[in-house]
């Protein structure tokens, strides 16, 4: 067999040989066939690709961190310390992983709200929305489980509080707490468990859900918002993808700047018998939940305030997941805005206002 043999599409040489076996031209043809509508809201389409790019960075830097990380209470902190002080560029890899995690959650929120305001979740894209919201939950799970891994004071107490919240859930609370902690207390067992979730369980589930999400995006194409008439279309490949690439370069530049100028700190090693340090709070994307639990009184109408808070957050999450099944106008371009559209738009802005207000309250107090 010779590399010089002519491929199926007539191309010679190595490319022809590869083409004959891999059929890459089919993929290119698919990319060229896929059309992206052009209108004044087209910019929001780029945030999905941006999320995928940042997720890719998380996978790559996560694999690099695995080369030095040791998942046990005795060695976790020391291994991260070693990584940051002795391994060439170790501080940079960890900083990029931490900053990229935060940027990813931020970009996911932007992506989700843009889809929400464009009402792109409507028939037939309900499952695209559901898988997308699941992906956000999974990323929050990555954030929560990854936060503990350096085994520092802040992480230890954030996990203590976070798992305690899960423990307050009605009926399943006790099981959830023991399941998350691998016992009744946050110990080295919890660390091993969170490590397993962070590097094996969550990635496996994410791969499946992300695959389905991308398939659905591919199948249904981009949704055009209600009342917007596209001024034309361009091909996904190369036109849209090249613009995507520019966005990725900007994201990479921001990431490199943040990681280099504000390297992620390690703090002090966790000590289960030390008092919780002052000013302890979770990552910014969990702060609003933390604040809800903080402002509720001990008891409301005879029910524990904490329980009411957790139930309210759970119901809000379920409602958010079910949005496409509540707002049931079928999708289509050029429709006039209905009253329901206005109602959902107001609801979206209210949600953003509440999230921002609760978060700001914590940081300003």
């Amino acid at each position: 067999m010779s590399l010089e043999r002519t491929g199926a599409d007539g191309g010679g040489g190595l490319m022809g040989w590869l083409e004959e076996r891999l059929g890459l031209s089919n993929l290119v043809a698919l990319g060229r066939k896929k059309q992206v509508p052009l209108h004044r809201h087209t910019i929001w389409y780029y945030f999905g690709g941006m999320s995928a790019f940042l997720f890719g960075i998380q996978v790559a830097t996560g694999i690099l961190l695995l080369l030095y990380y040791r998942p046990s209470a005795e060695e976790a902190f020391e291994s991260v310390q070693f990584l940051m002080t002795r391994v060439p560029f170790g501080w940079l890899v960890r900083s990029i992983h931490s900053w990229s995690a935060n940027l990813l959650i931020f970009v996911l929120f932007v992506h989700m709200f843009s889809v929400f305001f464009m009402r792109a979740y409507r028939k037939p894209r309900e499952l695209t929305w559901v898988t997308g919201v699941f992906l956000l939950f999974l990323m929050l799970g990555f954030g929560f489980s990854g936060y503990l891994l350096p085994w520092n004071m802040l992480a230890f107490f954030a996990t203590q509080v976070g798992t305690e919240v899960a423990g307050a859930l009605p009926f399943i609370g006790d099981f959830a707490l023991r399941f998350l902690r691998g016992g009744t207390q946050v110990t080295g067992g919890t660390l091993t468990r969170f490590y397993g979730m962070h590097v094996a369980v969550l990635p496996a589930i994410t791969t499946a859900v992300l695959g389905l999400h991308l398939y659905l995006v591919q199948k249904h194409g981009m949704s055009v918002p209600q009342g917007v008439a596209p001024r034309g279309h361009h091909a996904f490949f190369p036109n849209f993808l090249l613009r995507d690439l520019i966005g990725w370069c900007v994201a990479l530049a921001c990431l490199a700047t943040l990681a280099a100028v504000f390297p992620w700190e390690l703090g002090e090693k966790a000590d289960p018998f030390a008092p919780a340090p002052a000013g302890i709070r979770p990552e910014w994307y969990f702060v609003w939940m933390f604040q809800v639990l903080k402002i509720l009184p001990g008891h409301v109408a005879g029910i524990e305030g904490e329980l009411i808070g957790i139930l309210a957050i759970t119901l809000a999450a379920i409602f958010w997941l079910m949005v496409p099944f509540i707002d049931r106008d079928p999708a289509g371009a050029g429709e006039s805005r209905s009253r329901r559209a206005t109602l959902f738009t107001v609801m979206g802005w209210l949600a953003i206002a509440v999230l921002c207000a609760l978060t700001a309250k914590e940081y300003l107090s």
Binding site: L64, L67, R86, V87, P88, F89, G90, L92, V93, C249
Partner: protein, 145 residues
């Protein structure tokens, strides 16, 4: 298309190409440095206490820690103590003393050394590294020669 357009295209191609090249270098250079573990200078152990005189009877041996590597201490039938590196010179397995054969044996590839550390049979290319043994106040002190 005029000549100036062709020059502009050429310049843009050159500019984009070098930018992509610079980006690749700025990503892959740190990654390449990162994946090669840093040299950790370890204080080389020169002397350890391998045990007490009464630990071994003539014809017995034991493994002891010599820094980060294992050593083997044996007492000859004549009652003398000898110590060697317990790392086989073939493929780094840890050797053991065979009382029945009165030889040091590597189980991995069936290499044999005599009680002076010299190769008797099998694949080991070199004798075992020998350490100096001093008995002081009943304690067996092993040091590098």
């Amino acid at each position: 298309m005029g000549e100036s357009d062709a020059t502009r295209r050429g310049f843009l191609n050159w500019f984009l190409g070098t930018s992509v090249g610079a980006l690749c270098v700025s990503v892959f250079y740190p990654v390449a440095r990162y994946i090669s573990p840093p040299e950790i200078p370890e204080a080389e152990t020169a002397r350890v206490t391998a045990g007490h005189e009464e630990d071994l009877r003539p014809g017995e041996a034991k493994i002891f820690r010599f820094g980060h590597t294992p050593g083997i201490l044996l007492r000859t039938p004549e009652g003398n103590h000898r110590a060697f590196s317990a790392t086989c010179t073939h493929l780094n397995c840890t050797v053991q003393f065979r009382g029945d054969l009165k030889q040091i044996w590597c189980a991995c590839h069936n290499g044999f050394y005599d009680t002076s550390g010299q190769v008797v049979s099998g694949p080991p290319p070199r004798p075992l590294e020998e350490y100096a043994v001093n008995v002081t106040g009943g304690e067996i002190i092993v040091s590098r020669k």
